[in-house]
């Protein structure tokens, strides 16, 4: 409102008086200063810098539907969910720490070389897994075993891969633990190099658009942490999914840490979500510890992704309760109290439990019985997998190449054959070692 008529004010000046933040974009009436020949960008004569993707300069809001104690928020965009789905989601969340605890300890006992837990991220993983179709292609980073379990991957298969025993079909003993992959479950083999799966996902999604049976029906969903999102591959993948374009669903697990690097040191902007609009990609930030919000957000993100055939980004805000991996002691860089507080104050499993309790969809008795059952089953799988023999020793030279084997592979196998023939039976250290392999090397030495 103009106070006096001493100076003639252009309309935007009066609006400016009512705006709080200097980062807000000035509103200019149309057609006052011309236009650029090839752009819709409005012209301004003001030297104004902006540094936010939100209109008022605040952080991108975080979507949640349940409060800290499992009550549905008023006015929440609440997803459709029935008792059966809710119980399944809860069971899958509940079993994860049981499995993680066992395998973490198995590594500590020296029986497997490596393991990564997903403590604290159960809601992000199960909420998103439940929102995808079973035949959407998944490219994950390393902490998404729960997504594979959701799709029906068995405990025996988990143990087989971690032990590298002869039942391991994922990797046939040629990859370190937790690097699962399964064509049958549409889950691409995990690769250790961070973020390389991101542009690959854009490529998998491109392949889906080329298949008339899957175009518009399936997307490629790619998981990565907020640390991995610093890699050039993240930028490259987002760029390609938005320009080619291809139906790629980007799921960022912002769990606060990249080994010891806190998120505050990983980026200077507003998290990963702020990058989405930079690529013209529809984006949402969601409370990663609210499984129903994650489910709702990923469901809608998937719908948008398939509808437009372009990249969509979901940033799930969560907290990595456990260590980065068995090679890490996180108390070297964060206070124990912080972790204990998070476990108590914002526990995704407890939050969802309260939601279920309020509806009479779960009970203490069921909880104890279920946890017991999972514990028994995973222990059984562990005992079975731990003593099993490895793949036949000749497997070492398989699958370097597909099709006809080049001579340098044949030559190496022949060399091993000759050595096994010479020493396999007669030298005790080798004789004992060969017992660990299915077939005991006889397929080569005899």
């Amino acid at each position: 409102m103009l106070r006096t008529a001493r100076r003639s004010f252009l309309p935007y000046r009066s609006l400016q008086r009512h705006r709080g933040l200097a980062t807000a974009t000035p509103i200019i009436p149309a057609n006052t200063h011309g236009h650029l020949p090839t752009s819709q960008s409005p012209i301004t004569p003001k030297l104004h810098f902006f540094n936010s993707v939100t209109p008022d300069g605040t952080q991108i809001p975080t979507y949640r539907v349940l409060d800290g104690v499992g009550n549905v928020l008023e006015g929440a965009d609440f997803p459709e969910i029935d008792r059966a789905l809710a119980r399944r989601m809860y069971e899958q969340m509940l079993q994860l720490p049981v499995i993680d605890n066992l395998l973490y300890n198995v590594q500590r006992q020296g029986k497997i070389s490596f393991y990564m837990t997903a403590h604290g991220e159960e809601a992000t993983l199960i909420g998103s897994a439940a929102a995808l179709a079973d035949d959407d292609e998944i490219l994950s980073q390393y902490r998404e075993m729960a997504v594979l379990l959701w799709r029906g991957f068995g405990f025996d298969e988990i143990m087989a891969q971690c032990f590298g025993n002869h039942e391991d079909t994922c990797t046939k003993g040629k990859q370190m633990p937790i690097h699962f992959g399964s064509r049958a479950h549409h889950f691409h083999t995990i690769s250790s190099t961070l973020a390389t799966q991101i542009p690959q996902a854009a490529g998998v999604a491109f392949a889906l658009t080329r298949d008339p049976l899957r175009r518009g029906k399936n997307c490629a969903a790619v998981y990565f942490g907020e640390g991995a999102a610093s890699e050039g591959d993240f930028h490259a993948g987002m760029l390609l999914a938005s320009t080619i374009p291809s139906p790629t669903l980007f799921i960022a697990r912002n769990n606060g840490f990249a080994i010891s690097t806190p998120a505050s040191e990983q980026f200077h902007g507003d998290g990963i979500a702020a990058r989405g609009p930079g690529y013209g990609v529809h984006t949402i930030r969601v409370d990663g510890n609210d499984v129903l919000a994650v489910y709702s957000a990923v469901k809608e993100a998937r719908r948008l992704c398939l509808q437009e055939g372009r990249g969509v980004l979901v940033e799930a805000m969560t907290y990595r309760v456990g260590h980065h991996s068995t090679s890490d002691d996180s108390f070297a860089y964060r206070p124990r109290q912080e972790v204990e507080d998070r476990k108590r104050i914002d526990n995704p499993i407890a939050r969802f439990r309260k939601f279920l309790d309020a509806r009479g969809w779960w009970s203490d008795a069921e909880e104890d019985a279920y946890k017991d059952r999972v514990k028994k089953e995973i222990m059984k799988a562990f005992r079975r997998g731990e003593t099993m023999q490895h793949h036949p020793v000749s497997e070492m030279f398989n699958d370097v190449y597909g099709g006809q084997e080049p001579w340098n592979i044949k030559e190496q196998r022949e060399e091993l054959k000759a050595l096994l023939k010479k020493y396999g039976k007669d030298w005790e250290p080798w004789r004992n070692e060969l017992k660990k392999f299915k077939g005991e090397g006889k397929e080569l030495s005899e």
């Binding site: 990797t171 690959q200 490259a236």
Partner: protein, 329 residues
């Protein structure tokens, strides 16, 4: 047929034969290719099969790997292999190793192709030869063709191969015309990956080369013939798998070996061939030490006379061959 046309024809034939084959890279579609190798293909096959990408080798290299893992057969063009370094993790760690690490369940049938090695007056960052870099990686196949026939038969074989293939062309050969046999002109013409070709038979000395250096080696053989030396010139064609058997057979016949390459000398193709010959029974047949003729151990200079000094030429090959024959002063 020129090398350029041979490559273009190979891709066109394979794209007609298998609709999963598609091309991606910078400038490959509307611009008809930075070096016009993909000329006309956008018009023939449309934008879904000839895909222009934004400038991110990491990005489109990764996209090619993902598409191959999902069952398509991408041909990923790098404007030069110097820029492939920006995608090298995708090539080595993902394309090269995934089949093995996945226990054979995730093949990656991608072809990475583009100009490699020396060009003319483009300086250090546009002139490196990557044969040795990729040649070291188990899981990859690496091809370095020379003639138009090589390019046609080997590119077709590479596209059909279930493994990731690094296909190292050479810009200076694109415009060179080579005779093509009737068989080579057919649309089912394939050459075996991992086999050398003896381009010229001889009995006095073996000269092994790949890519553009085959031209210089053949010229050197002509020069040597004037002095009564009959040189055998072996065109490597493939870097990995390396056809050491053909080289051994030749060395057993001629007793002398000179290896010619455009790449840097250290840890190179010549080093590998020399080591393998020395490790084999062919060692006993050598009458002189194995000689290597390589690019200079400097980043390639730009100015024309300096650039000429940085790469092997015909007189240099002749000189080294004579040295191996104990005919130099």
């Amino acid at each position: 047929m020129t090398v350029r046309d041979a490559l273009n024809t190979a891709m066109e034939e394979e794209m007609l034969r298998d609709e999963n084959v598609f091309i991606l890279g910078e400038e490959v579609a509307r611009y008809n290719g930075a070096y016009k190798v993909t000329k006309g293909l956008l018009d023939k096959f449309g934008e879904k099969r000839v895909v222009d990408t934004p400038i991110t080798e990491m990005g489109f290299g990764g996209l090619a790997v993902g598409a191959a893992l999902a069952g398509l057969r991408p041909i990923c063009e790098f404007m030069t292999f110097n820029f492939s370094m920006q995608a090298i993790d995708q090539i080595v760690n993902s394309a090269g190793k995934t089949y093995y690490m996945s226990g054979g369940s995730h093949p990656c049938p991608v072809v990475f192709r583009g100009p490699n090695g020396a060009a003319a007056g483009v300086g250090a960052q546009h002139s490196q030869d990557y044969a040795a870099w990729y040649g070291q990686i188990p899981g990859l196949k690496v091809i370095s063709p020379w003639s138009a026939e090589d390019c046609k038969g080997l590119l077709k074989a590479a596209i059909r191969d279930p493994n990731p293939v690094v296909f190292l062309e050479n810009e200076m050969l694109y415009g060179v015309t080579f005779p093509m046999s009737a068989e080579a002109m057919s649309d089912n013409f394939l050459l075996p990956i991992g086999k050398c070709k003896v381009e010229r038979e001889g009995s006095d000395i073996t000269i092994v080369a790949h890519s553009k250096m085959v031209t210089h080696s053949l010229e050197a053989a002509d020069e040597l013939a004037k002095e009564g030396v009959k040189a055998e010139v072996v065109n490597l064609r493939s870097i990995r798998p390396l056809d050491i058997d053909t080289i051994k057979k030749s060395v057993k016949k001629t007793n002398r070996l000179v290896i010619v390459e455009g790449g840097f000398p250290a840890f190179g193709v010549g080093s590998e061939i020399c080591a393998r010959i020395v490790e084999s029974e062919a060692f006993d047949y050598l009458d002189a030490p194995v000689e290597r003729v390589t690019g200079a151990d400097v980043p390639t200079p730009y100015s024309a006379p300096l650039e000429a000094l940085a790469f092997p030429d015909t007189p240099l090959i002749v000189k080294v061959a004579k040295r191996a024959l104990y005919r130099s002063n």
